[in-house]
């Protein structure tokens, strides 16, 4: 299929956001993924998150690698620049883009093959550096476009559609992200939009390296009995630690939850995250505790979801490099070229 033109017409009474855009303004072209693919739900949630946050669509840059998940940036935010790069290398391309212009929002979309197998190194190093981005892995544990091979996030002992058992240990990207120093780490499920939407919104507001692992069942190759990434399996084993609401700007906070189960997290830019804790002992600011919690539940076969860790005062790569406030791509020869007088001095020092 080449491309299908999506009809432009829409209901005149569609709700508009603060910028006057409807959610249609955040859509992309028609998805070419399989009907029912979890990835399409994630795209829809991303559209809704950007719409609700009133983000000007062109202020987002969406980048991806190669694979089913990496195709999705074509299917949302049609007015944003997009870059479908090389398999496993989205993190480096995104890092470069972010260095060039710190003023845009960077959305990195990847998959489990793209991030946990071929691109494991780049995944790790982008998080280590604290690139200000939203890094979403649409995790289905399987290679879709090449028809059903296991990826590195497939659980040991899980069965492929052809009946082959996976003997290799799996990589938990959330555990890795926590260890590598990501300042916002969450896991969700493509089938749980109520949980996913506020997590994406909070990640966009977060001014640091935000990582979200979204389990997104592959309806074609990994939604059968014996899979640990199927809709049924994930619903049965989901252990949510909290439910999140995001309040942007300085809107007053109304709390209508039972005391003791609510935690308000204020981010650096004034955004407030309201966490309804499902596990009363869970502290969202404790990286080490998050790692322990994750491993303890993983050992019990439970998939922990929710916002697992957030640093309210994140430092990003630009902070570490002490770059100027202006976007580097706006600087001209006036700011960048030292000129002939300086060069004469350099010449003199080389004699």
């Amino acid at each position: 299929m080449t491309y299908v033109v999506k009809p432009q017409f829409h209901h005149p009474a569609l709700p508009k956001n603060e910028l006057g855009y409807t959610h249609r303004d955040y859509e992309g072209s028609i998805s070419t993924l399989c009907a029912g693919c979890g990835h399409d739900s994630i795209s829809a949630t991303l559209i809704e998150a950007c719409f609700e946050l009133s983000i000007a669509p062109h202020r987002v840059a969406k980048l991806s690698g190669i694979g089913c998940s990496s195709k999705t940036p074509t299917y949302f935010l049609g007015n944003s620049h997009g870059f479908n790069s090389v398999h496993g290398r989205m993190p480096s391309v995104l890092t470069g883009a972010n260095l060039a212009n710190r003023d845009l929002i960077y959305l990195g979309v990847s998959g489990d093959g793209d991030s946990a197998s071929i691109g494991f190194g780049q995944f790790a190093h982008a998080l280590r550096r604290g690139v200000n981005m939203v890094y979403i892995v649409e995790n289905n544990g399987v290679y879709g476009l090449t028809k059903g091979q296991f990826s590195a996030t497939a659980d040991r002992g899980s069965k492929s559609k052809r009946g082959v058992t996976n003997n290799d240990n799996s990589i938990d990207l959330v555990a890795m992200a926590l260890q590598l120093g990501a300042t916002f780490v969450a896991r969700s499920f493509s089938g749980d939009k109520t949980q996913l939407l506020p997590i994406i919104k909070a990640a966009i507001e977060h001014q640091g390296a935000a990582f979200i692992d979204v389990i997104s069942p592959c309806v074609a190759f990994n939604n059968h009995a014996g899979s640990t990434k199927s809709f049924d399996y994930v619903r049965e084993h989901n252990e949510a630690v909290n439910r999140l609401d995001v309040i942007t700007g300085r809107a007053p906070i109304k709390i209508d939850y039972a005391p003791g189960s609510v935690q308000i997290v204020e981010q650096h830019d004034g955004t407030k995250l309201v966490l309804r804790k499902l596990d009363s002992d869970y502290d969202v600011h404790d990286r080490v505790a998050a790692m322990t919690f994750l491993q303890t539940h993983a050992a019990k076969g439970q998939i922990v979801t929710g916002l697992l860790y957030v640093d309210s005062e994140p430092e990003d790569l630009h902070h570490h490099l002490n770059t100027v406030d202006a976007a580097l791509n706006t600087l001209s020869e006036k700011e960048l070229c030292p000129g002939s007088a300086a060069l004469e001095k350099i010449n003199a020092s080389l004699r």
């Binding site: 290398r89 470069g96 260095l99």
Partner: protein
């Protein structure tokens, strides 16, 4: 008969890596330079930090020959490990300076050279008690002895020591003292000066003395690079280091103390080129510095940059390959792997600087070319010019020069109703317009991908739009031929049927060789290629000559292959002259090889044989 020569000889220092000899040897070279006499130093170093043999060769040439000459007139033998081989390199009639503290059997020497013993260890042990001092000052002491033996202006060395230890007064006096220890001992105990000696001249003029890597990095600063991503690899690391140093001095906002640049030491070369492509896609000028193995790793990304048309700059400081090859030895062996980098049909633009001055110029120009042509640009240095100090014309910059950011459509253009198609060839030069991300709320956005697309950047797997796009990329490559640096022609004094093509660091050896070849009565026209794709003058040059020698520093005659392939030349007419043992090519080698061929050709001119 000992060699007699003023201002024209080769001094070779044989040292142990990590013994602190490098700065003393460099001081020696600079002192000669301060006397107005051109020098060409070359570091011959192992892939090692401490303990293995290392050499520093200084060619002194008032005539200004800066290529490697071959042979040694004076050997400063400070490494017992390599003694026998080193002594063997001395020209008949040459000189050997050695540490005579421990007596050596006569069999260790040669009858046809002059042997000069200086008890360096003894002098050191008498003067210093700390082992580290004994080691470091030994180097300065031999420089002191050389100053007497070669008639070096001692004030010039003292001045250099003063400059080097400016602000570190504690180190200044002891170094001056050590210098005089050696000098005084030589004056008191040896016949000074030797048959080879120095005499103040005025042959340096306003030239500067700088490494190609530092010059290229400065070019990147002047050319407006703001993002650099790199991975350490010899011999290119010093380019990124120099960029870091230059930026810290020239690119920090004086008020806010913030940086107008971003440098990332990436996890590997794949990430380096990925960062460059991401930054360039987003409108910043970005580059990486690497060597052959890095180029191999970057192949997939380079194809993406070609096909998705992302301006990007790669400095390739070449070393001997394949595989790890000889990491610290020079070659011009990445010509083909860069010209055709990546899978599928790709062709890239290469620039071949001859020295640091051109490394600076091309280093800056590469960014204009990348933006204008929206494609990767390779600046092809090598270890010989990258990591050695080379005398060259001073850097120049025209303050009226504006960066050529190429065809970029702005929000105002889009609002004015200009048609935007990312891959639309509006000007028939194969170069389309692009927009930076974030330009306009509703116009001008597009999706960049390595998969095929139509002129409006819409994904397609149809044959016709794919072929249309590939043809446009070829048109763009044609356009490049007139934008890249032109070849430079130097005609022989007499008309000739023979020509020679050369490029990059071969320049000084070639310039010197031409004199030697002409002295044999064989005039040859010269064409120095400075870029790929080849300008039409390359084909005409070959057409105008019966035979053209192509001088290169690789085994497979890579540039020759590129000429045969791209200009459709009969290979018989291009005679390869190759040098690829990892040492820099010499005038003697070129003159010998070209001369021998010409002698053969004189016997049986091919035209007559064929007719």
């Amino acid at each position: 008969m000992p060699i007699q020569s003023v201002n024209d000889f080769v001094v070779r220092f044989a040292n142990v890596n990590g013994s602190g000899s490098a700065s003393a040897n460099e001081m020696f070279a600079r002192a000669v330079l301060r006397m107005g006499i051109p020098v060409a130093p070359r570091n011959i170093f192992p892939s090692n930090i401490q303990g293995l043999p290392t050499w520093y060769e200084v060619r002194i040439s008032e005539a200004g020959h800066l290529g490697a000459r071959g042979g040694t007139d004076l050997l400063v033998a400070m490494n017992p490990q390599t003694w026998d081989k080193d002594v063997a390199t001395i020209e008949p009639g040459g000189y050997l300076l050695y540490d005579s503290t421990k007596p050596l059997p006569a069999s260790k020497f040669r009858d046809d050279i002059s042997v000069i013993g200086v008890p360096l260890t003894e002098i050191c042990n008498r003067e210093y008690s700390e082992p580290r001092q004994r080691q470091l000052f030994k180097n300065i002491i031999y420089v002191g002895a050389l100053s007497a033996l070669l008639d070096i202006d001692v004030a010039a060395i003292e001045q250099l020591i003063g400059e080097q230890y400016k602000g570190k007064e504690k180190l200044l006096q002891p170094n001056i003292h050590a210098l005089h220890l050696g000098r005084d001992w030589a004056l008191a105990n040896l016949t000074c000066p030797l048959g080879i000696r120095l005499k103040r001249a005025d042959a340096v003029k306003d030239r500067i003395f700088v490494e190609g890597n530092a010059a290229a990095a400065l070019g990147a600063v002047y050319g407006g690079a703001t993002v650099c991503a790199w991975y350490p690899i010899t011999p290119s690391s010093s380019l990124a280091d120099a960029f870091t140093r230059h930026c810290a001095r020239l690119r920090v906002d004086p008020e806010t103390k913030k940086s107008k640049y971003a440098i990332i030491q990436a996890e590997d070369e794949l990430a380096s080129i990925g960062v460059v492509i991401g930054a360039a896609w987003n409108g910043a000028r970005a580059f990486t510095a690497t060597s052959g193995p890095g180029i191999s790793l970057m192949q997939e990304f380079l194809g993406l940059a070609y096909f998705a048309e992302i301006p990007s700059v790669v400095f390739d400081v070449q070393r001997a390959g394949p595989s790890t090859g000889m990491p610290t030895r020079t070659q011009q062996c990445d010509v083909l792997s860069c010209a055709y980098a990546s899978h599928g049909d790709t062709k890239h633009i290469l620039l071949f600087p001859e020295d640091p001055a051109e490394a600076f110029e091309f280093g800056a120009q590469a960014f204009d070319l990348a933006d204008r042509l929206q494609t990767p640009i390779f600046v092809m240095l090598d270890l010989d010019i990258g990591m050695n100090h080379r005398l060259c014309r001073p850097f120049k910059w025209d303050d009226a020069r504006k960066y050529d950011r190429g065809k970029v459509m702005t929000a105002a253009d889009l609002d004015a109703g200009k048609e935007f198609g990312r891959y639309l060839d509006v000007d028939s030069d194969g170069i389309p317009y692009r927009t930076y991300p974030g330009t306009h709320p509703s116009k001008g956005s597009f999706f960049t991908r390595g998969t095929s697309r139509d002129r409006y950047a819409r994904y397609t797997e149809e044959g016709a739009p794919y072929a249309d796009n590939m043809q446009r990329l070829l048109r763009k490559f044609e356009t490049a031929k007139d934008l890249v640096p032109r070849p430079l022609l130097a005609q022989a004094p007499k008309p000739t049927r023979y020509g020679v093509i050369y490029y990059g660091s071969t320049s000084p050896a070639m310039d010197e060789a031409i004199d030697l070849i002409e002295a044999r009565g064989q005039p040859v026209d010269r064409l120095r290629i400075r870029a790929f794709p080849f300008h039409s003058s390359v084909s005409s040059f070959i057409a105008e000559h019966d035979f053209v020698f192509v001088v290169e520093q690789n085994r497979d005659a890579q540039l020759r292959s590129l000429i045969v392939n791209e200009c459709s030349i009969d290979p018989v007419r291009l005679v390869p002259i190759l040098h690829y043992d990892g040492t820099p090519i010499t005038a003697r080698h070129i003159a010998g090889a070209v001369g021998d061929h010409l002698d053969k050709l004189k016997v049986r001119p091919l035209r007559k044989v064929m007719s």
